[in-house]
Subunit: 341 residues, 2 copies
DNA sequence: TTCATTATCGCAAACGTTTGCTTCCTATTA
DNA sequence: TAATAGGAAGCAAACGTTTGCGATAATGAA
């Protein structure tokens, strides 16, 4: 509030008996300024610890050097890693980021967008909430001429840069791996199908089964929200089936961990009786009992590339609708390591 | 860039044939404006989807409604939870947050401060890096009249609001619990001692031992950075001691998990041969084998309170140096559950 | 009718910059 | 010597608001 009045360009001008224009030009390395006065300005600026007022700059230049980021939630390790990538790339270019979380709510997500637009961010990077079904809010961003980049959870129908992992292929690989380990009844815990990712992962899972001449059994597919609340419930449901699964492709490592816990409580052995593979390769997965196989999605890289694409869009005037796919990696551990059945 | 020129107060004024002052007054609910014109302004504003330019407002009012947050790293679940608390509290008051991570580097932390000050944030919430030793940068923030609040990792010598957990008591409780479970040679993995938290946790550990008439044995204290790289190394070192520990108070759950893994590989049983207790109660800790006892620090609440204190400081003009301690909670599980003796 | 009061509104400055245009001065050239 | 070029600097507008002050008109009272 009573912010000690910081030194402005005017102070320098007054103290040097010159006009603000000249000071400005000296500071911004423009032409039309005598080397001597320029030096004097720079010296005084340094001495007075002058810092340009970025608010005034933003108003004048109509750009804030801030990019907005909307993610479902920070506590999700995948997204916090992605934020790291975004931030590193942004700060390299002199940009700051303003993070909002949608808490997986379409409504909050909409508010976030409003907030960021009102703050005049130079661009927005977003990974949509699992509720999100309408593309209107995003269309609105684009209509306003604000660069927009999707990452991971994309809205595929919009003509704007996107970066995501090879969801289909990742699921195909993971499922095929289970088959190769001798599993024939493979369950899949799927995310909500309005998410592009969930749809393609499910398709990858299904196609992998077909590719190995296995039938796709709808009773082995669980449609879960990402909330971890009912993991035990559907795990027991699967295990109590007349013909229970002998392999599980979980929604993520967190879910897989809890599933393994439930499975073991039931007296079943992993991987002998049932194989489990996760998703995202969380940091604890190497230390679980048994250690958990997983699919590694390079979250940091996803974020970094998203920022890269956005900055390209912000700085150049001609938009390029680039769609970048980053490869995933199968990380094999004990939870799927068994002699072929 | 080619941001479609949004509608301003001028547009409304022109279209209504009145001055911008009147429009402003109508919009801000000031006096001195005819109810009829006011209504007309409001209606047109709505119709044109007028959004006040927050940049111009910031310049004029000298406040940005943005609060800066500096944390060691987003991927650390403790801090991402805290961010959640900060954000929820901030947005309730119409504030946005700008997050920077120091990556545990004092140098980057300094840059972050610079960045945030240049962005004219209305206040700063910070949890210092583990490298941080100097208090100068923070003094500088305060000298500039920018409200500053520390949370969790505080610099205790500065006269500014702080919120933290009861580190001493938490460590005392955890250590005492191990003693009560029959441990007499309890190892402690400590964080770097320039951190206030680490010092007090160490003291709580030591005092608990003394309180139970056990000797404090320096060879059982490992000074670790938070980097997880050398966990296996020092775990083996401890286990290979002539008189190895029969209890471990780990630096956090992540470290504890890896330690448990190493311990089991060595053929030792948990908790029979050695008890392990962690810190922070990570979400996987209920599912490890054995499940991991831990100390729960309410990170979200810590963040929320930090924002609460900061906003109080921002909005009122007279600063209050409040120091808030939030209680921790022992979460007991199988890794310390054994018959005494 | 006249004066004072009040309601309503506009003017213009201010926040801290940038920048197109103008101005002034010096030095070069014919 | 006069014309001109060009270097160096200032003026003022602009970005979108808010707000103190003054202006105008209408209203009421005397």
């Amino acid at each position: 509030m009573l912010r000690s009045n910081s030194v402005t360009i005017k102070d320098i001008a007054k103290k040097l008996g010159i006009s603000t224009s000249t000071v400005s030009r000296a500071l911004t390395n423009h032409s039309d300024v005598n080397p001597k006065t320029k030096e004097a300005v720079l010296e005084l600026a340094q001495q007075l610890d002058y810092q340009p007022n970025s608010i005034a700059l933003s108003l004048r230049k109509k750009q804030t050097h801030v990019i907005g980021v909307i993610i479902p939630e920070t506590v999700n390790r995948f997204f916090s890693k992605a934020i790291g990538g975004i931030q590193d790339e942004a700060s390299k270019a002199g940009y700051n980021i303003m993070v909002c979380q949608s808490n997986e709510s379409q409504h909050i997500e909409f508010n976030n967008i409003q907030t960021l637009l009102n703050s005049f961010v130079d661009g927005i990077i977003i990974s949509v909430s699992k509720e999100t079904s309408s593309e209107k809010p995003f269309q609105r961003i684009m209509d306003k001429g604000v660069p927009l980049v999707f990452f991971d959870r994309v809205v595929d129908t919009l003509e704007t840069p996107k970066v995501m992992s090879d969801n289909y292929e990742a699921a195909f690989k993971a499922t095929s791996h289970l088959v190769e380990m001798g599993c024939s009844r493979i369950a899949r815990i799927s995310g909500p199908l309005n998410l592009y990712n969930s749809r393609w992962r499910l398709k990858g899972y299904q196609d992998a089964l077909l590719h190995h001449n296995l039938e796709v059994n709808e009773e082995l597919v669980i449609y879960s929200s990402y909330a971890a609340s009912n993991v035990r419930e559907y795990t027991n449901h699967l295990l109590d089936l007349p013909e229970p699964p002998d392999g599980i492709f979980a929604i993520n490592d967190q879910g897989a961990l809890e599933m393994m816990h439930t499975i073991k409580q039931k007296g079943l052995r992993i991987p002998e009786d049932i194989c489990v593979i996760g998703f995202n390769n969380d940091y604890f997965s190497a230390f679980t009992e048994p250690s958990l196989s997983s699919v590694e999605i390079p979250a940091y890289e996803l974020g970094r590339i998203a920022a890269e694409l956005l900055l390209k869009e912000v700085q150049l005037d001609n938009p390029v609708y680039e769609k970048r796919i980053v490869p995933s990696k199968l990380v094999l551990r004990d939870s799927t390591r068994r002699i072929k059945g």
